[in-house]
């Protein structure tokens, strides 16, 4: 079993799943095992019906089919991705409930003092779902409301979701959002609508790869000191 301390901490058993379903490979497990995974909602229904290989074993590729890749240097901050996401997936325009996050990192980046945002480096913090092979949002959900769809993508079942926010807390990037209006969580389903209309091609929906370190820095290496700790207004009042 490969080492993954983050998963060990969760203690959910997901780490063991991870070793079966790696992004590189097909694994051979028994169809009974697949069925039990489907029963738990950890694999899609189609898994049971997947073509069997010889000797009654099932070939199954459990990794999400696609993932978003971001080049934040290209992002011009229009936030059309957030509106497009929610128009398609929620039938309304609601950036705060979008499955991609730009607006909350636009002014000052990941946090005040990160040296980012329109007031500093002019690079903002963009957060997209990493499509983890072992999704902590899913394994942490106490209601089994995050299921794996036919593309291997984790999706919130609004019928089961109670909006407790456990998934938000469990995700290392806090990607799921509990919608303030519906009280239900939502997360990226790799539909690609955001990337389709990104005016700068800063977003791409690509075949799954590990993007944990691909979305650019989340702060400047040497952030400028905060203006509010330096001066009241322009020129530091020195010249005037």
């Amino acid at each position: 079993m490969k080492e993954n301390t983050a998963l060990e901490q969760v203690g959910s058993g997901a780490d063991r799943l991870d070793s079966f379903f790696t992004r590189r490979g097909f694994v051979k497990v028994s169809s009974a095992f697949i069925a039990s995974m489907v029963g738990l909602g950890l694999l899609p229904d189609s898994a049971v019906a997947a073509p069997t290989s010889s000797k009654g074993k099932v070939d199954y590729y459990a990794t999400p089919s696609h993932v978003l890749k971001v080049n934040r240097a290209k992002c011009t901050g229009c936030q059309r991705c957030e509106m497009s996401c929610t128009l398609l997936n929620d039938g309304k325009s609601q950036p705060a409930a979008a499955r991609i996050h730009v607006n909350d990192g636009f002014f000052y980046g990941s946090e005040l003092g990160s040296g980012d945002g329109i007031y500093y480096s002019m690079e903002w913090n963009i957060r997209t779902c990493h499509m983890c092979t072992t999704a902590l949002c899913q394994t942490a959900c106490p209601h089994g409301a995050i299921i794996t769809n036919d593309n291997g993508v984790r999706e919130v079942d609004p019928e089961k979701c109670v909006g407790c926010g456990t998934c938000v807390a469990a995700c290392p990037w806090h990607m799921p959002v509990v919608n303030t209006e519906t009280g239900k969580s939502a997360k990226c389903i790799a539909c690609g609508r955001c990337a389709e209309q990104c005016p700068n091609g800063a977003l791409e929906l690509v075949e799954w790869e590990n993007v944990n370190h691909a979305s650019g820095p989340t702060r400047q290496e040497n952030p400028l000191p905060l203006v509010s700790e330096q001066q009241d207004f322009v020129g530091g009042g020195k010249i005037a």
């Binding site: 929610t86 325009s93 609601q94 002019m122 203006v227 001066q231 207004f233 010249i239």
Partner: protein, 746 residues
Amino acid sequence: MADNVSYGWMGWIARVNLSTGEITEESDEAMQKDYIGGMGFANKIMYDEVPAGVDWMDEENKAVLAVGPLTGAGVPLAGRSTWATLSTFTTDHLVVDCHCGGQLGAKLKYSGHDGLIIEGKSDKPVYILIDDDKISIEDASALWGKGTRETTEALCKKHGVDVCVAAIGPAGENLLPYACVLNTRSHSAGAGLGAVLGSKKVKAVVVRGTKGVNVADPQMVADLSDYMIDQVIGSNNNHVVPSTQQSWAEYYDKGSRWTAKKGLYWAAAEGGPIETGEPKPHEPNTMGYRCMKSTKDLGPEAEKYTVKMAGCHGCPVRCYAQVKHPQILEKTGYESMGNTCVPNFPFSSYMQSMMKVPGTTTEDGALTDQSVLYNLIIQAVVDDLGLWCNYAQLYRDIAHTYVDGILERELGDQFAEYGFDKIMAGDPTPFIKILTDIASNDTEKKPIAWLGYGPLVWTEKWDDAKWYDDSRSCLINYRGWPVHHAIECFGQVGGLYNMVFNRDDMIHSAVNFQGCGLPIDLKKEMGAEMWGEGSVDADKNYTPMNEAKAEFAWWSIVTDVLHDCLTLCNWVWPMAMAPDKDRSYRGDLDLEAQFYTAVTGQEVTIDDLYKAGERVMTLQRCSTARGMTDKDGKMGCNDFRNIHDVITEWPFTKDPDIEPFTAGTDKMEKEDWQTALTMMYKRFGWDEELGCPTKECLEDLGLSDQAEDLEELGLLTEGGTKYDERTRTYDHVLEKYCGDNPALNA
């Protein structure tokens, strides 16, 4: 259930009374159909609640912020917002609109509000916090005296980095008439709004919005957006050809704001330069590279400082340069810079022609590195001070009063302290003191601050009334505002729309078409389809006034007003032209109506919406009539022709050796100008002699209350024609070019 859903509009306007501390919310449903939102809501509220004769700093004045049904709804270029209040700097201090982009409009909408009415006065510094449904008045004592950057940062530190802060700087606190409200670092709502908020002791409005805008037909909004971005929209100002010859393009025009090209980079981008390249029509994912604004505005030297472009919420045209400059950081304390309008070129476009600072341009006329520094230092200073410029008038006035010896004469010993000698020698640092002293509004100790009152005041103080009639001033109306694309833009057409508001017009419908880059013969053909034969003349080769030009002027005004109601960006909308050769470069004038229907679920035509735009324009005309003083100084006046719509003298006297209506000049002719006013008044259904709204026109627009008010004041005249009897029909006027429009195919 479905009956209770409000599509497009959030349905509520917040009212914050600073005198009583009372905070309420009220439904805007009754205003939606007729006034749409934004400018319409704000002007309706100002008309109903702020009586004529109130001065801008009175407790009875209000500041009304509003957005419209399309704001934040997913429609392209729907990120703007409009305030209305009383002017601080033009004659009679009548109602003005203060538009701004950035994030403020969208955040307000997502907080569940279509508007915010700020009324009364606080006796101590406060800010207004809107956190979705929770609205409160908070203590701002610790923020008083601070610039807009520090104010924003302090409030984000307290309330979270996802809130949008719209703040005034020292200029607004000091009640300087030229004060504005800044959000998102560089998006300014001007016309003195900062001073109005300062008079109410409001340092900032802070908004968090997590709600959604309900959309009746989300698929249609997405489909229309995709269609528009794929083939209808161009670049900034809807320029539809590139500025350089490119293999894909039939035409190019060096004035175009479609400035991307091979070998031109966002050179300071994180991780290495990003090429703007040759973004083409039908490429939705390169759309945001078309407008390379830093080098367009600041000159070729700005390339190396360019991090990227940005702009308002929800807009795929990225027109805001984002630049960083080590010397600006050193001099001002701020690294991030960039704008899309006057603050990007205050020095090079408005001062240099008078000041002639050596080293500003190269021998072949390109702006130098020194010019970049001059422009950016002024930008950094004014945006932090919350100092507005009256569409560059401040800069022209500084340059003029310096080069013509007025400052030296009026400032006495202080003159030397302003370091104009250093500025002339290549050091822009003294601008920090000049602008900071203007923002101080300490006219007694620092009389240079009079420049921040506008020409209405300082030309009188310093005995310089002739400045209005000097073409260098660019002042277009004696009530105190400058040109905003005037006679140089289709002659009488531009001149006319510069008259109608109580400030510079900010109308771009016509100038977008003028600068779009298509050849003039094609533009004449397109003009004939949209506004009638003879509506469009070649630049500086204008013909006498005709009905088609009046139509074009009317259309320019009503589309602008409509966009400020919806709210859409009139710096690119309306879609009169397109970059796609397959559609013969025709735009799509029905898109506003189709988006409106898709978002709100209510069927309208573009003619219905133009009528609403006309209603809001005419309503503001009524406001103006109530409060305008006549030649004897009596309040209440309907003689717009002789009191309000009075163009300055220089348009008639410029180019003394050339006759009007000949090639090479945009000079106007006086009798023709009066004909132009008559034709425009007629097109609006206003009194053809006076230019005031008539009884018939008002009743036809559903403005019977206003008709009664004007009648009571003795300002109402008879005559005028109903809207339907005088309008061209615009519904589906370009339909044959719009075969791919999803709403037509639905």
